[in-house]
């Protein structure tokens, strides 16, 4: 089988599992981010500004661990562009750790300024506040250098897509949304960037009406156009494992009535549009999503795939019988247990969750730090999944 055929077979494997069809073996999404750099013997400091090291790390990983797809093909957390423009940034890294500081672009009172003209707001507010006095010193040479680095990064992204696809037969997980970007709900953007975790937590109680106005405005700009494009589409694409990918994190902050008011209306109308076209959406649900099970219960099988983090997969199956489960293997087990224990648990997951499709194996967190997994454990699991026939 050549790499193109392998890629096609893997897409079918993911699609069948997501549609609750029987699969011969359980597909494995490698939910691996910076861990692969450390496993390849490099430090994060070496890799974050060096495309060569990043590519070698990806190749080392794929030569060693036979996964069916990867969450990150070596293109996340790359710092050439931001460092060309100058520090400080919101991200930080050293030899072993990469992370992001909680930050806020707006106050509740300036949210609508951002929404009405994000470019102007970014230029006049966000960047001057981020760079302080240095902002005034950004000269043409700095801008040129930054754009040059951005173009190099773009080429690297294309190269890695080609390397992983053509040389390793790895499929792409999901396309960009029909508006050519990632899907971001207002409440997620508020938490991640605009107000920050603390700012959002306070605004949810102190400024609920203002938040709701912003959420509806955001939907008009960012969610409704996607829905219009979905309506025009021809349904599922054979080029990807899923038709869309959504990240959910902010739901962890919310009370049920807040979810109902600020999150669910936006999420529901988008999921309804995908469901109408029988398209499958992969939802990376950080933290726990169990308490929201009732909201999702009416979608037929084949629409939802939840990549779960803290939720117990067996409990999740009971609560979400209509959703394909992605995940199951905890970083705790991958680091603390033996290869035999990891394989035994993997077998249990496959047997109990994947007999009739509906299960895709993955790690519950994005493997990022050295303690997130032991190499021998991940290797044992990968080999088991490749050979275990359902």
């Amino acid at each position: 089988m050549n790499k193109k055929e392998l890629q096609k077979e893997r897409i079918a494997l993911f699609r069948d599992a997501a549609n609750f069809k029987h699969v011969d073996r359980i597909p494995h999404l490698g939910c691996v981010v910076t861990w692969k750099i450390l496993d390849a013997g490099y430090t994060l400091s070496e890799a974050m500004t060096n495309f060569d090291v990043l590519e070698k790390s990806v190749r080392y990983f794929l030569d060693k661990y036979p996964v069916d797809a990867m969450l990150d093909i070596g293109i996340r957390n790359q710092f050439n562009v931001t460092e060309a423009f100058g520090t400080p940034g919101y991200y930080y890294y050293n030899d072993e750790v990469v992370g992001i500081h909680d930050h806020a672009y707006c106050t509740v009172d300036t949210l609508m300024d951002f929404l009405n003209d994000p470019d102007r707001y970014t230029w006049e507010k966000i960047l001057p506040e981020k760079y302080g006095e240095d902002w005034k010193k950004k000269d043409l040479a700095t801008w040129k250098k930054t754009f040059s680095e951005y173009m190099k990064y773009t080429k690297f992204v294309l190269k890695m897509a080609s390397v992983t696809g053509k040389e390793y037969g790895l499929p792409s997980m999901a396309p960009n949304n029909p508006m050519k970007g990632s899907i971001q709900f207002a409440i997620e953007e508020l938490e991640a960037n605009l107000l920050g975790i603390k700012g959002l937590s306070l605004a949810l109680r102190r400024n609920a009406d203002q938040l709701e106005t912003f959420v509806r405005g955001w939907d008009e700009q960012h969610i409704d156009p996607i829905i219009e494009e979905i309506k025009k589409s021809n349904g599922p694409s054979e080029k990807y494992c899923f038709d869309a990918s959504i990240m959910m994190l902010a739901h962890n902050l919310l009370r049920p009535e807040q979810f109902e008011r600020f999150y669910w209306p936006s999420l529901k109308k988008l999921l309804d549009a995908y469901a109408d076209k029988k398209m499958n959406v992969r939802i990376f649900a950080e933290g726990s999503i169990l308490r929201y099970a009732d909201y999702f219960k009416d979608y037929p099988k084949g629409v939802l795939t939840f990549h779960i983090e803290k939720d117990d997969p067996f409990e999740f199956r009971q609560a979400f019988p209509n959703a394909c489960i992605m995940g199951g293997m905890t970083t705790d087990m991958l680091y603390m247990s033996s290869p035999e224990e990891c394989v035994d648990y993997t077998k249990k997951l496959c047997d109990e969750l994947g007999k009739d499709g509906g299960f895709i194996f993955s790690e519950n967190k994005m493997l990022s730090y050295k303690n997130d997994a032991k190499s021998e454990n991940l290797l044992a699991v990968c080999e088991f999944l490749n050979s275990y026939k359902m």
């Binding site: 930080y92 050293n94 072993e96 750790v97 992370g99 500081h101 909680d102 975790i197 603390k198 959002l200 937590s201 306070l202 949810l204 109680r205 102190r206 962890n252 902050l253 919310l254 009370r255 807040q258 308490r291 970083t331 705790d332 680091y335 603390m336 990022s368 730090y369 050295k370 303690n371 997130d372």
Partner: protein
């Protein structure tokens, strides 16, 4: 005479506006009953912690509770300062996010709840090396240390901190670890005395240690 039962309940219900109204009333005479009002707020925070544990409250509620508790103390600051020493000495303890970990939201929630429960918390901040904890324990004669972390890597730093305390002969210092990667197994890994899955568990454990 103020209705401190109501104050406790509005704090527990996170009714910020009513809480501030009551505290403004308390401060009308300069705050002669500020201490009782503070105790009522602390009891309310205790209920907040329990509601979080039972699944009635969520992370955003804890962050909000910490903020309004801070505001409550600020409103009564002058009156409470005037009463310093009357309530006996507070138990002083250390709280920090361990080395190589820069997350502070969980730590700050725990700090607010510990302070609400009468602890004097020395917050050493984030990315705190073991040596700094040892140095502060010695300088301030601390007997309780709470270590926080979000990354799995934090478990190594927690162990380093516990080892450093033992190496310095500070074997009577109690250490509790908490945060996303922490589980019951973490006691064996880090050598800590306890672990916490929630802010309330941290508070309860530290209170038990302080009362021994």
């Amino acid at each position: 005479m103020f209705d401190f039962e109501e104050l406790k309940n509005v704090m527990a219900d996170l009714d910020e506006d009513r809480m501030k109204e009551i505290l403004d009333d308390v401060m009308q005479d300069g705050g002669s009953e500020a201490k009782k009002a503070l105790e009522a707020c602390q009891q309310g925070m205790d209920i907040v912690g329990k509601r979080f544990e039972s699944g009635e409250y969520f992370v955003g509620d804890l962050i909000y509770a910490g903020e309004i508790m801070t505001d409550a103390v600020e409103i009564m600051k002058e009156a409470l300062a005037g009463e310093a020493g009357e309530g006996g000495e507070k138990t002083k303890m250390i709280l920090c996010t361990v080395k190589d970990d820069l997350h502070d939201i969980g730590k700050n929630i725990v700090k607010a709840m510990l302070e609400a429960n009468g602890f004097e918390v020395l917050d050493l901040g984030i990315d705190v090396p073991a040596e700094k904890v040892v140095e502060t324990v010695k300088a301030e004669n601390i007997k309780i240390v709470a270590l926080s972390g979000v990354l799995t890597l934090a478990l190594n730093s927690m162990k380093d901190t516990v080892d450093a305390l033992k190496a310095a002969g500070l074997t009577d210092v109690k250490v509790i670890v908490g945060g996303a990667p922490v589980s019951e197994n973490s006691i064996a890994i880090t050598g800590a005395d306890e672990w916490a899955y929630s802010p309330q568990k941290t508070v309860d454990t530290c209170k038990a240690w302080a009362n021994k």
